[in-house]
């Protein structure tokens, strides 16, 4: 596991971020953050009821020691595999006993409270971070009553131009803002405050427990560090998963049908080729006995979704051993669409392969070009599809729709796995697309506001709050120390948590250069034309690559 992690890290070549990754890599391997799953879960489903976070007032010198209490219902499950004749039969025997386990994990209270002048700060937030940031703001104002924090949620589409126009015009309307990982370059160029400079100028507001090295290094390096300098603290990391109907995949009758039809055992697909076969089986037009009408919920609209979703197919090819030898190590400025030296690489047979893998899946999806995030979530929630590649956030919606909100039941119905990939040189390469948000600060605000904004950013991304946003708001931890907490695993779905951990270091990346928005404007509709076959495959890929190359060439790489 550790050597695998090192290998993955070794794929990144950006000079300045490289150093950061090296530094953090040592820390990660030492902590063995990713072995959480093995430590905690043994072949069984462990139920969770509540992660109650009590009496937390970080920073208050008078606050009592804090604890996180987790009460969990534990069900012991035993899996027995035996051979009957030629067939291997897996029997899952359930409920040896049910018991309530209560664990108390102490959280070291932060006895640190810097002196801040009265100020009002406005936080511009993406919708998925907004509830948590509102909560964080309330808690923050309890500690610092002289600071007023207002959180303004805005849709993704409105948020990004709003941040940029505010920074460009230097009006300082918004003090703190959420930065989508791939927009970092443009936000920095527009005038985001450099955290290194703030910490240098105001050492008194740097929390002794800040522990920057505790931030998950890939996300920190990708979403917060630009040209070797820190411009934000990660709020939460994210990436895409393959959600599937666990109840169907484990149903002996359905498994027999699959075996009879394909001659293979039914399993959660690991490669896109397998996914095509499974999706076909679960599509009623091709299998009248299918419990679902369609195999998979796909989204290839002309929106922002296109830019990230395509990488679930292109990323594994780009980062396969063959891809790395052909296109060089990944540079996090350019991401997976480019070679190490910033050349758009996919106008060739490798790019065509990725598109064909997508195209082969299309017949098994309800409406791939007319669906976006909301539609695919609805399709899986309604039981129309057996699989759904999605971000983590809709898990709550799935649990509500398919299990009536019963999280225990949801674990039996909803399965979570890493996004499928490809086999290359005998190696399975899976690279789900990464996402996530960091908290940045406006450089064009008063000193008092900047100090308050920085302390708020520290507070909202602190270890304690980082755990709370997972337990209360289903936003995964950005702190490695929280990935080691057993109670964090138990909160929602151990499968989801484990899959997070598993894919955390095996991701594909969008470009984060300032030209990225223009790449989207050109790319989103063009990708759809190519995937839908409205443009000849190779011609379309060449056209897109040429257009993108013009934009990528405008970027001056800070490391060169």
């Amino acid at each position: 596991m550790e050597s695998e992690k090192k290998k993955n890290i070794g794929n990144y070549s950006s000079s300045d971020e490289r150093a950061i990754f090296d530094k953090f890599d040592k820390k990660v391997t030492r902590r063995k953050a990713l072995s959480v799953a093995a430590k905690v879960g043994i072949a069984g489903a462990i139920g969770v009821i509540v992660g109650v976070v009590g009496g937390y007032f970080a920073g208050s010198a008078v606050a009592p020691p804090k604890t996180i209490t987790v009460t969990q219902t534990q069900r012991l499950t035993e899996t027995v595999t035996s051979t009957v004749g030629a067939a291997t039969v897996t029997v899952t025997e359930r409920v040896t006993e049910t018991r309530i386990v209560t664990a108390t994990t102490p959280i070291t209270p932060t006895v640190w409270k810097p002196k801040l002048e009265p100020a009002e700060i406005t936080v511009l937030s993406s919708p998925d971070c907004a509830d948590y940031l509102k909560y964080a703001a309330e808690e923050f104002m309890k500690i610092y009553p002289q600071i007023r924090v207002e959180v303004v949620p805005l849709s993704w589409e409105a948020l990004y131009p709003k941040i940029l126009s505010d920074l460009q015009s230097r009006t300082g309307v918004y003090d703190v803002f959420t930065i989508d990982v791939m927009t970092l370059g443009s936000v920095v160029e527009a005038g985001a405050a450099c955290f290194d400079d703030i910490m240098k100028e105001h050492p008194d507001i740097v929390d002794p427990n800040l522990d920057i090295a505790d931030f998950e290094p890939m996300y920190f390096g990708y979403g917060s560090v630009w040209a070797g300098k820190v411009y934000g603290f990660p709020v939460y990391p994210n990436h895409m998963f393959l959600f599937y109907r666990k109840d169907y995949f484990e149903d002996p009758k359905i498994r027999d049908q699959f075996k009879a039809k394909t001659g293979k055992p039914l399993k959660v697909p690991e490669t896109w080729e397998e996914c095509i076969e499974v999706a076909r089986f679960f599509t009623r037009d091709y299998n009248p006995d299918s419990p679902t009408e369609f195999g998979i919920a796909l989204m290839f609209p002309t929106t922002h979704t296109m830019m990230y979703n395509v990488l679930n197919w292109l990323g594994p090819i780009r980062q396969s051993p063959t891809g790395l030898s052909k296109y060089g190590k990944l540079d996090l400025y350019y991401g997976d669409y480019c070679t190490a030296d910033g050349k758009v690489w996919f106008a060739n047979e490798d790019g065509a392969r990725a598109v064909k893998l997508i195209q082969d899946l299309l017949p098994y999806a309800p409406d791939p070009f007319g669906s976006d995030y909301g539609e695919t979530v609805a399709q899986f929630s309604a039981g129309t599809t057996a699989m759904c590649p999605q971000w983590s956030v809709p898990y709550g919606d799935f649990a509500k729709a398919l299990a009536g909100g019963d999280l225990m039941k949801a674990r039996e119905i909803i399965g979570v796995e890493m996004m499928p990939g490809i086999i290359d040189q005998g190696q399975l390469v899976r690279k789900p697309v990464s996402g996530g948000w960091a908290l940045g600060i406006n450089n064009f605000i008063s000193d008092a506001e900047k100090r308050a904004a920085f302390v708020f950013a520290e507070f909202a991304t602190s270890k304690e709050m980082d755990l709370i946003h997972w337990t209360k708001f289903v936003m995964p931890p950005a702190r490695m120390s929280n990935w080691e907490r057993p109670e964090a695993r138990e909160v929602l779905s151990p499968a989801l948590f484990d899959t997070y951990a598993k894919s955390m270091r095996s991701l594909s990346y969008r470009p984060r250069i300032p030209q990225e928005p223009e790449m989207e404007r050109i790319g989103n509709p063009l990708w759809q034309d190519i995937i839908a076959g409205r443009k000849p495959l190779m011609d379309g890929l060449k056209e897109l690559a040429n257009e993108w190359q013009k934009l990528v060439d405008q970027f001056k790489h800070p490391g060169r």
Binding site: L164, A190, G370, Q515, E518, N524, P525, Q554
Partner: protein
């Protein structure tokens, strides 16, 4: 102070306000249309002359958006005008007129954000009532938002649904104001229903017909909200109107204010040109206070 002078002082604040909120932004837009001005790349970069304007003619997406805007404007105006006229002619004087009149107006009163959501649900490929209804006629599921043939039709249907009531109201009001004496005189002379419509009703509301066509043309040339709510310009760029393209370039994925400003200036010039031509062709200067 003379009365005339006082009048000028009184309207001065309005003039300043107008200059500040309309003329200044317009001039600034004109100014930045000659620059490479991209918010994502650090704001104003350099003077590029008319490059942004030239780009609009070479940009295949811009050309496609012009075609779609022309299609939706011409088709929308023709269908909506005819439909509204027929409805108005049918409704005037029938039993339950006021109830029908009221019900026809409902779509127009629904905010665009709400009607957009409603139509998005209606058009949903998997669960939408439209496809469910069509399935009774053996029609297989249509991807209203994902198929380049059906997406423009979906936009057109929604626009007809929402804006035909406006024209209906205009024509209905005109028909109601026709002096009864003309119709009675014609009936005494033995005019048939069709003759009454052809020779009296339609000529009497001709001015309103022209105004209706003009207003809807201007509206459709600027069509944005239904595209934003339903198709997002897709599939591909099939349903990009010129306004939607400006939005995409200037505010969403592009943030290229220089190019977006040039596109806006072009749209403005096109609207001015077309409306002038329409006003002349439809001979409505008199109604607008001209000629």
């Amino acid at each position: 102070m003379s009365g005339l002078k006082a009048k000028y002082y009184f309207i001065l604040p309005i003039i300043f306000f107008y200059l500040f909120v309309t003329i200044y932004p317009f001039l600034y837009m004109l100014y930045i249309s000659f620059f490479d001005y991209n918010l994502a790349r650090g704001g104003i970069q350099r003077f590029v002359g008319i490059m942004n304007y030239l780009q609009a003619f070479y940009d295949p997406v811009a050309r496609g958006s012009i075609s779609f805007t022309a299609f939706i404007t011409v088709t929308g105006v023709i269908v909506e005008t005819l439909l509204a006229l027929i409805l108005a002619l049918l409704v005037v004087g029938i039993k339950g007129e006021s109830l029908l009149r009221l019900s026809f107006l409902i779509p127009m009163t629904i905010p665009m954000a709400v009607s957009g959501m409603i139509w998005r649900m209606l058009y949903n490929t998997t669960y939408g009532p439209v496809n469910y209804f069509l399935s009774f006629f053996g029609i297989k599921r249509i991807s209203w938002m994902g198929d380049p043939i059906y997406a423009p039709i979906a936009i057109l249907i929604m626009d007809i649904w929402q804006w035909t009531p406006f024209l209906f109201l205009l024509f209905y009001a005109g028909l109601k104001n026709i002096p009864q004496v003309y119709l009675e005189a014609a009936m005494i002379d033995g005019a048939s229903g069709w003759q009454l419509t052809k020779s009296i009703r339609i000529p009497m509301i001709k001015d309103l017909l022209m105004i209706g066509v003009l207003l809807r043309s201007i509206d459709l040339l600027k069509l944005f909200d239904s595209i934003y709510m339903i198709t997002g310009g897709g599939p591909g760029t099939t349903t990009y109107t010129f306004s939607y393209l400006i939005y995409q370039v200037g505010f969403i994925t592009g943030i290229n204010l220089g190019y977006a400003s040039a596109l806006s200036v072009i749209l403005l010039l096109v609207i001015i040109l077309l409306t002038t031509l329409l006003i002349r062709a439809l001979k409505v200067e008199r109604l607008l206070g001209g000629g």
